[in-house]
């Protein structure tokens, strides 16, 4: 006897948390949301960082917390610990991101220490030298990771001469950065204008805004606006084979065009991506993992950056099935681009796309990250309401139309990182190959 699967009870409408927003006199935008589940606060500060030198930007992120004129790195860390807090920084071609958390009672102090770092980081020569060596070592280790190498190769292939092509410095470039260069970069680019601070936690939003204003109003209001050029269109072409001798897997990476969050096609594209490989119950996963067993975690994702968006398809497959895995992946791209999407799979993707929006709002850290990421595109949480509506209303025809436009394999940039000696004979029989030698 078979037991029927229980139906869903009526869905609750997407419920956004209470937020408040203020732009300070110095140009800093502060956005606060309340989520009181635990007595903590999360913060994310996003500072525009386009067109900065990659090595300097990376090292600045590593040494921003290395000391102020009054506090050493160890003292700063201890001050943060007292409120149960931490702060960290990272840089990418779009932004410098500072992230942290603390006990709710420590929010004023956390903001105060954040302000101190923003206005008074001194980049001490000794600490910079130490972090420079550590960063160079970390980059050296990263360059042995297939995930890193495959992505690096894809970025070069997709972005050409755009700044997104090179997102990590060479160890030698890092080694050449002096503390004075970091101080100059900080003075030029670490400014409140265009920056967005997000505060999420067990604190009334208005109170969080007041705390931010009290702590950060004296942050310098200068700074220039730097825009990245739009990313170049992705060009189809032969498979770029990046050699990694002895690799026991091949890392497949495919870049496809995409649109930003505000484009009218975005809702339908999101659904097309889910159907293709954007979640477990997708064509790609069901084919090359659950049917063929070629790979553990195949996936596709729409990635949004300031200068453009892209779909990135990834799968790490056993070396001996490199060619069939790529054949199946291309087949799925071509099938999505050229035949109608099924009703059941579309409805399933739609429920997933809409339902998981609520999940993304359900933790302090997740909410803070989402709000910060949206702010990077000039959007707020209410974008989610429209996004849910657009996913709810996209028709099968619209989804198939965007699939034809954005998932067409002829427009894909394909990279395979693997043992070239082993995979070339089979791969070159099926796909035109560029071995990067020219």
């Amino acid at each position: 006897m078979s037991i029927p699967v229980p139906a869903l009870t009526p869905a609750r409408k997407l419920k956004l948390p209470r937020t408040a927003e203020r732009t300070l006199a110095n140009g800093l935008t502060v956005i606060a949301a309340r989520r009181p589940a635990v007595p903590l606060v999360e913060l994310r500060l996003r500072i525009p960082f386009a067109k900065t030198n990659v090595a300097r930007g990376m090292l600045l992120a590593e040494t921003l917390l290395s000391g102020t004129s009054e506090l050493s790195n160890v003292e700063l860390s201890a001050q943060l610990q007292r409120i149960g807090g931490h702060l960290g920084a990272s840089a990418d071609p779009d932004r410098l991101l500072l992230g942290g958390a603390a006990l709710t009672s420590g929010l004023p102090r956390l903001l105060e220490l954040l302000g101190l770092v923003l206005t008074d980081a001194v980049y001490p020569a000794g600490e910079v030298a130490a972090e420079r060596d550590r960063l160079a070592d970390q980059i050296q280790v990263a360059k042995t990771q297939p995930a890193y190498l495959a992505r690096e190769a894809l970025n070069r292939r997709v972005y050409g001469r755009h700044p997104y092509a090179n997102q990590t410095a060479e160890p030698a470039q890092v080694a050449a950065v002096r503390p004075t260069a970091l101080r100059s970069l900080h003075a030029e680019r670490v400014h409140p204008a265009g920056s967005a601070l997000v505060i999420v936690g067990d604190v009334p939003p208005a109170k969080a805004l007041d705390a931010a204003e009290a702590a950060l109003s004296s942050w310098n209001g200068g700074g220039k606006t730097v825009e990245l050029p739009p990313v170049p269109p992705i060009e189809g072409g032969p498979v770029l084979l990046a050699d990694r001798p002895g690799s026991v897997q091949s890392s497949l990476r495919i870049g496809l065009p995409a649109v930003g969050r505000t484009d009218p096609d975005h809702g339908a594209l999101q659904l097309a991506n889910l159907v293709f490989g954007g979640y477990f119950s997708s064509r790609l996963v069901e084919n090359i993992r659950e049917d063929k067993g070629y790979t553990y975690s195949p996936r596709s994702a729409i990635e949004h950056s300031s200068a453009g968006s892209a779909i990135v398809v990834s799968a790490d497959v056993a070396t001996e099935v490199t060619t069939p895995a790529l054949v199946e992946t291309w087949y799925e791209l071509g099938r999505l681009a050229s035949t109608p999407v099924g009703t059941d799979e579309l409805e399933q993707a739609r429920r997933y796309g809409i339902g998981t929006l609520q999940l993304s709002l359900a933790t302090q850290a997740g909410l803070a990250g989402l709000m910060s990421s949206l702010a990077g595109s000039g959007l707020r949480l209410d974008w989610l309401t429209g996004h849910a509506e657009r996913m709810a209303s996209a028709t099968a025809e619209q989804v198939s139309a965007v699939a034809a436009q954005y998932f067409a394999p002829a427009r894909a940039a394909t990279v395979v990182l693997g043992d070239a000696k082993v995979v070339t004979p089979s791969l070159s029989g099926v796909f035109p190959i560029d071995d990067g030698e020219d």
């Binding site: 609750r12 160890v74 603390a102 006990l103 280790v141 659950e290």
Partner: protein, 446 residues
């Protein structure tokens, strides 16, 4: 030192109060032995459903390394009323997410969904608790998938499996504690459908499982739904968990291996700690000690080894080989793991670690050091519990291993009561003679 620098005297002088949580918890046991934990929280319309089975890597049979994890994969391949792929589709088609993970002492399965899918989630868990549908075809498929998981996470990258797979065989002598939990390809390929059925029959009894729910429901509603779906899961006896005890080390152990892909040296050391379950009071100081040693720039070993001596590029310290201080049973260890710069000398670093432990054991903590460390630990505990999924998993595991999910709310207070004396004693116990160390010898970046 940091604590004497007073930027804001009023604040600096005041001790930060460590908050605790007061999540409501309801617990009961069904007639078939299934333990149930309910933690309602109506703040967001989402719910987490977790089932934790009291079996993990330590329980897998000899000749079947990696089997607990392989079996976890098989639990997603169809069940009494569901075909292959149906589980994934029902969860995700409800707007939810799912996963499972295999640990030394337990295996968990979980779903995180909009709360209108609660009953469906319970049905899905109950259905595979009744019986997974394990076929030869699905077994072979998942052996392939797991093999790729091992390649991507261990074999094809530098420092793969370091230190969680590499250190236990140095520290331990018995198969349950020492073997590779991801498994050898030989053992994985030797697995049969009959093995899986036996494993399920023995270890996946309702009486050996805990069901934990956290999120948007009422206790009455959830109780009724749990009864509806789980009460008729057939009862089987709860397997007796054997002792995995091993004697403490009496002489230092060292081993090394060449990692052909690693460009730089690394090492990890471990010392046995008191039984986390039966000797919790003696265990907790080690949890705090790990943070005193390695949490942030103002911790002992980061300040000394990373910032001052520059002898390591990074160092971490934690309890349990999988870094789960409150989800592990005896025997377990305090683990230190460090990466070194080119040409770094591991013996020198170990000597400095000993020196810093001696200094701590002799001079005690500096003013404020204990309070700020506890504040950090409190933040980490709270951060783990903010997601309802994290709450369901921790409460379920604590209920399973310690008999009372309510202890979850007590953890910040219990850690807050750890004394300086007990931390000093813990530091004094980390002697070289009780230490097991594994070194990664770089084979050059390939």
């Amino acid at each position: 030192m940091a604590d004497r620098v007073a930027l804001v005297p009023a604040l600096s002088a005041r001790r930060v109060r460590i908050p605790t949580t007061n999540f409501p918890v309801e617990q009961f046991t069904l007639a078939n032995g299934l333990r149930v934990v309910l933690a309602p929280d109506r703040s967001a319309p989402v719910v987490a459903v977790a089932v934790i089975y009291d079996v993990g890597i330590r329980s897998e049979p000899e000749g079947r390394t990696g089997f607990a994890h392989l079996f976890e994969h098989l639990m997603f391949q169809g069940s009494e009323n569901l075909e292959k792929l149906a589980h994934f589709r029902y969860v995700q088609g409800s707007g939810g997410t799912f996963n499972g993970s295999t640990h030394l002492d337990y295996t968990d399965y979980y779903q995180f969904l909009p709360s209108n899918a609660l009953e469906r989630a319970l049905f899905l868990e109950a259905d595979r608790m009744r019986r997974p549908k394990i076929t030869e075809e699905n077994l072979r498929n998942q052996i392939d998938v797991v093999s790729e998981e091992i390649r991507v996470n261990v074999l094809n990258r530098p420092y793969g499996g370091f230190p969680w797979l590499k250190l236990p065989p140095v520290m331990f002598d018995t198969f349950p504690n020492a073997h590779d939990g991801y498994g050898s390809f030989v053992d994985l390929n030797a697995a049969t459908v009959a093995d899986a059925e036996d494993f399920f029959t023995t270890y996946y009894a309702a009486s050996n499982a805990t069901l934990a729910l956290a999120g948007d429901f009422t206790v009455e509603q959830a109780t009724e739904l749990v009864q509806r779906h789980f009460a008729d899961v057939p009862a089987r006896p709860r397997p007796v968990r054997p002792s995995f005890a091993e004697p403490d080390l009496t002489a230092e152990r060292r081993d090394s291996y060449v990692d052909e892909r690693a460009p730089l040296p690394a090492f990890a050391s471990a010392w046995r700690v008191p039984d986390p379950i039966t000797d919790f009071d003696a265990y907790l100081p080690y949890v705090v000690l790990a943070e005193v040693l390695t949490d942030g720039d103002s911790s002992r070993l980061v300040e000394r080894l990373v910032l001052k001596d520059r002898a390591v590029t990074g160092i971490g310290g934690y309890l349990g080989f999988m870094g789960e201080p409150f989800e592990v049973r005896d025997p377990t260890a305090l683990v230190l793991s460090a990466h070194l710069p080119p040409g770094g000398a591991i013996d020198d670093v170990l000597r400095t670690v000993d020196e810093e432990l001696d200094r701590l054991a002799t001079d005690g903590l500096s003013p404020g050091e204990l309070d700020r460390t506890k504040a950090r630990i409190a933040t980490q505990l709270l951060r783990d519990l903010d997601p309802v999924l994290g709450r369901a998993l921790r409460m379920g595991t604590i209920a399973q291993q310690r008999g009372d999910a309510g202890l979850t709310n007590e953890l910040p207070r219990l850690l807050g009561e750890v004394t300086e004396e007990s931390i000093v004693s813990a530091a004094a116990a980390l002697r070289p003679a009780r230490r097991a160390t594994v070194e990664v010898v770089p084979g050059g970046a390939k």
